[in-house]
């Protein structure tokens, strides 16, 4: 057991899903040919002026509400001044003393225990561009497409004491932002990013140690790993009698280590001051109320609804809601075929299994929720056998063809051949006098044995329901 305990706080940057950038009308979509999504305003041409996108303000207010923050009635923007080639104005428009959201909280579940993480603030700012380094020609190129995409920065209190808590929080925040339609939270595309402030102190100590800030954490896995190695690094330093230096460190995922970027002494003096180009905003209660009421159903409410109104098992509802893509898929499916339990069963059972196996990927499914619903319906109405349903699903994943077409083409329908059914079951009964005897003597458990035999023999040729009916009739004779 370590003699130290870690304390962490997070700074999370999330790009908002607005159509246009925060201070101009350029598209805020991800990607694009370099410098194809910029204009004189976001590329910092002399004389241009920023005009605030009110949609972005609406989104950050929603973010504040879903994280139980106080929304400031008065908010304003400041300039954060520093030189960097990806920042064309040489200042970032951000918020210093009067952010939109203050003091909120988010509840997380870690190993079955509930914990509350306090939010210090959430503010609105603009993203910077991207530098592309050409190692061959030894030049750097600037791409301003990302410049001016609206970002919210969520700053937590130092309430985390393990990597598990950090991960649980990130997962929860991602879900909240996704369900509220604020951010798509694709870590791999950088639409949500997380910096970790981390320090360790001897157990029992009431004072926090010197912290470092970890950057370049591009996945939840990277976050967990970076925290682990940084705790080890700081422990080693303290154990050898040295002091941790307050600095920013970059995580190198390939090497699994953190390296120093800049120390406190090198930290910028950002010379914040109120941006004279953007008038402060005063919100009325009506405006805030309207925005609050426009927030879509959040994860917890949705789980509750699935359990109470649709009759789903809590565990199934949790799995479905735990991934916004899956959840949207589920909603689409039950809109096409109103049998939530069956659809949920098949998502949680079969679809999730294949996703976990890497056969399918929610991001790139070739079929719709309605197609999937049709497949479940075919199973439920005894048009397809259990095993052939799986075959059809496999084909759907592969080709995106409609379930009916696949079943038709591959000849997978249940045949409903009643003569064959009668003949086969009669044979099974004739060949197994002992179990028949047992059944007649009241040992109803052997019914399962007969079902198994019949299913095996009649694979795809009769529905389980028909088998069950005929078998019961015969055995009860």
């Amino acid at each position: 057991m370590s003699a130290y305990f870690p304390t962490m706080g997070l700074e999370i940057h999330a790009e908002l899903l607005t159509k246009s950038k925060v201070f101009c009308t350029c598209s805020a979509e991800f990607g694009g040919t370099p410098n194809s999504r910029c204009c004189p305003v976001c590329s910092g041409m002399p004389g241009t002026l920023p005009v605030l996108n009110r949609k972005a303000v609406e989104y950050i207010i929603k973010a504040g509400y879903v994280m139980n923050c106080e929304i400031s009635r008065f908010t304003k923007w400041d300039r954060k001044n520093y030189f960097y080639p990806d920042l064309p104005k040489a200042y970032q428009i951000s918020q210093m003393p009067r952010p939109v959201c203050l003091s909120g909280n988010v509840k997380i579940n870690v190993n079955g225990e509930e914990k509350t993480i306090r939010i210090n603030r959430i503010h609105l700012e603009e993203d910077a561009g991207k530098l592309v380094h050409d190692e061959v020609n030894r030049i750097s190129l600037a791409d301003y497409n990302r410049c001016g995409i609206p970002l919210i920065e969520i700053v937590t209190e130092p309430d985390f004491h393990s990597a598990d808590e950090v991960i649980a929080f990130m997962e929860k925040v991602k879900l909240l932002l996704q369900y509220a339609g604020i951010c798509d939270c694709k870590m791999e595309q950088g639409s949500i990013r997380c910096d970790v402030n981390i320090s360790i102190a001897p157990k029992g100590s009431t004072e926090l140690g010197t912290r470092t800030e970890l950057k370049n954490l591009n996945s939840l896995k990277a976050i967990a790993k970076a925290i682990e190695v940084e705790i080890d690094r700081q422990e080693e330093i303290l154990e050898s009698g040295e002091h941790v230096i307050q600095e920013t460190r970059r995580f190198n995922e390939a090497l699994g280590e953190t390296t120093a970027m800049r120390s406190k002494e090198d930290a910028h003096d950002y010379r914040y001051f109120p941006d004279p180009d953007i008038p402060p905003i005063i919100f009325t209660e009506e405006e805030l109320e309207e925005i609050k009421n426009s927030i879509p159903e959040l994860p917890e409410q949705r789980v509750e609804r699935y359990v109470n109104s649709l009759g789903l098992k809590k565990a199934d509802a949790d799995i479905i809601v735990g991934d916004k893509k899956v959840c949207d898929f589920f909603d689409e499916a039950i809109a096409a075929y109103n049998n939530p339990k069956a659809v949920a069963n098949y998502i949680v059972g079969e679809l999730t299994r294949r996703i976990n196996l890497g056969e399918a990927d929610m991001e790139n499914l070739k079929f719709t929720g309605a197609d999937f619903a049709r497949l479940v319906e075919l199973l439920q109405t005894d048009k397809l056998s259990q095993s052939n349903t799986k075959v059809v699903l496999g084909k759907m994943i592969e080709t995106g063809e409609k379930p009916d077409d696949i079943a038709q083409k591959e000849d997978l329908w249940i045949k409903e051949d009643n003569d064959l059914l009668a003949k086969t079951i009669d044979e099974i009964i004739a060949n197994n006098p002992k179990p028949v005897e047992q059944y007649k003597n009241g040992d109803k458990k052997v019914f399962g044995f007969f079902m198994g035999q019949a299913n095996k023999a009649l694979k795809g040729l009769a529905s389980p329901k028909a088998i069950q009916e005929y078998l019961t009739k015969k055995l009860e004779e």
């Binding site: 004189p40 041409m45 004389g47 002026l49 920023p50 605030l52 030189f83 040489a90 914040y272």
Partner: protein, 483 residues
């Protein structure tokens, strides 16, 4: 034809009656420019080719009886107002070759009217200065005395109008940059209320103080030009969503009963005797027309210069940071990003610009913010309050525009504080965001140099100061420079 001191409204009549074509008209001004600008140095760029094209377009509008107030009217534009496809240098080596890919909103409005661009006028580098001598390209002279400064920073615009190298021009005013050169060059210039005219496309010096405005031969022409360029603009969040009146509407209305405030601090010993005398005798003249003069006080004036320079330099330091040699403009040398921007900024900016960037960054630095910038903002509130108090009792305020007439070139070099102090009469108007107009109220007896007075109005009440200036101008005979 004689175009000396020609008014926009006279040119309008000539164009509409067919007495002269739009092409001939701009040709007359280009002739003047060719003849005289070699010694006056008021234009950085002369746009003959573009002018011919727009003159043709304008002529078509005139022929089709679709002419607007400025159709075919040639104008000069200060070189910090962006013109699509036409070099916009801010009189700085930093932007020496900069060609904007877009038009300032005021230019868009003028284009809609079918104006004709004569060229881009010189100025103090990035509008920082009151002499046009910090221009990296054309250190404009005063048409009344070529050994004297034209004032600044819109010195090129004021000198060009004064010497009839343009019938009117646009300037920009951050602390007096329209009014003071108008005063030095014997023309009329108005700084509109902050928010009246869009700043989009005006290369920012101090964003909370900058405002574009007209410089012309009289208040009436200023009103015509202001009509064309003002109004809410969705590209400028600080432009006012407020109804725009016709600024010529009140011209000619009697000023009987108008209350004119004379704050005693503006008539202190810091102001030259000749200036004080000229302004006060103009005040008497207005009194004869029925105006009521009210002496009053503005104790906050003594803090105006430090408050102004702290706010202006802080904003400028941030606004000018984008000039890093990466995206456009002058690029120095250096193997690393830091070396590159240091060299670019060191060689691209002139001394005065660098001084103000240093001042501004110092004032914003952590540990100094509260002592300087925050205090300056508090003083701003105090100055606004004092103006409000005066305007509770009075309609307009009358002050000198500058402590002296135009001074000799070089007289204020090496003494920035003295140069800054000379802005005392104009800066508070920008701090409070008020409209102010400068018009000639007399000439110094021996030198014949023009002396300007300023009329300051309530927020968005440009109409009343234009009316007052016009009332004065009706009884005043200006003397054109013999140049």
């Amino acid at each position: 034809m004689n175009f000396t001191k020609a008014k926009i409204r006279d040119l309008r009549k000539m164009l509409d009656s067919g007495e002269i074509s739009a092409k001939e008209l701009c040709g007359e001004y280009f002739k003047n420019i060719d003849e005289k600008d070699e010694s006056l140095l008021s234009y950085i760029t002369v746009t003959k080719d573009e002018a011919l094209k727009s003159a043709e377009k304008a002529q078509k509008m005139i022929d089709e009886k679709q002419a607007k107030a400025l159709t075919g009217i040639p104008l000069a534009i200060k070189d910090n107002i962006c013109t699509d496809g036409i070099k916009t240098t801010c009189a700085s080596k930093m932007l020496g070759d900069f060609v904007p890919p877009y038009n300032a909103s005021v230019i868009e409005k003028l284009n809609e009217q079918g104006y004709v661009l004569l060229g881009k006028t010189s100025m103090d580098e990035f509008a920082m200065g009151g002499s046009t001598q910090t221009s990296a390209f054309k250190k404009t002279k005063n048409p009344y005395d070529l050994e004297r400064v034209p004032g600044g920073s819109s010195g090129g615009s004021a000198a060009a109008v004064s010497a009839s190298l343009a019938p009117a021009a646009l300037g920009s005013d951050t602390g007096g940059s329209i009014r003071q050169p108008s005063s030095f060059c014997g023309v009329t210039g108005i700084k509109p209320t902050y928010g009246r005219v869009s700043r989009y496309g005006l290369v920012a010096f101090a964003s909370s103080l900058d405002q574009i405005g007209p410089i012309a031969n009289d208040a009436h022409d200023c009103a015509i030009l202001l009509n064309a360029v003002c109004g809410y603009d969705r590209h400028d969040a600080t432009s006012a969503r407020i109804d725009v009146p016709d600024f010529t509407e009140k011209l000619g209305q009697p000023i009987k009963g108008m209350k004119i405030a004379l704050p005693k601090e503006f008539y202190s010993d810091a102001i030259d005797g000749c200036v004080k005398d000229a302004v006060l005798s103009a005040a008497k003249e207005l009194e004869k027309q029925g105006a009521v003069l009210e002496e009053c006080s503005m104790p906050g004036l003594k803090y105006a210069i430090p408050a102004y320079y702290l706010i202006a330099c802080a904003e400028a330091a941030s606004n000018l940071s984008r000039f890093d040699g990466i995206k456009y403009g002058f690029r120095g040398e250096g193997r690393t990003f830091n070396d590159l921007i240091i060299d670019s900024r060191n060689k691209g900016f002139g001394e005065e610009v660098k001084r103000r960037i240093l001042l501004g960054n110092y004032a914003l630095s952590s540990g100094y913010y509260d002592a300087y910038y925050k205090k300056a903002l508090a003083l701003k509130q105090e100055i606004i309050k004092e103006y409000n108090e005066i305007f509770e009792k009075c309609d307009v305020i009358l002050t000198p525009t500058a402590p002296t007439p135009a001074y000799k070139i070089g007289a204020q070099d090496n003494d920035p504080v003295k140069m800054y102090t000379a802005d005392i009469c104009t800066v508070t108007v920008n701090i409070a965001g008020l409209p102010g107009i400068s018009t000639t109220c007399g000439y110094e007896k021996d030198s014949g140099l023009p002396i300007g007075m300023s009329i300051i109005g309530k927020r968005f009440d440009e109409q009343t100061i234009l009316q007052t200036a016009d009332a004065w101008e009706q009884g005043f005979t200006p003397v054109a420079p013999e140049f």
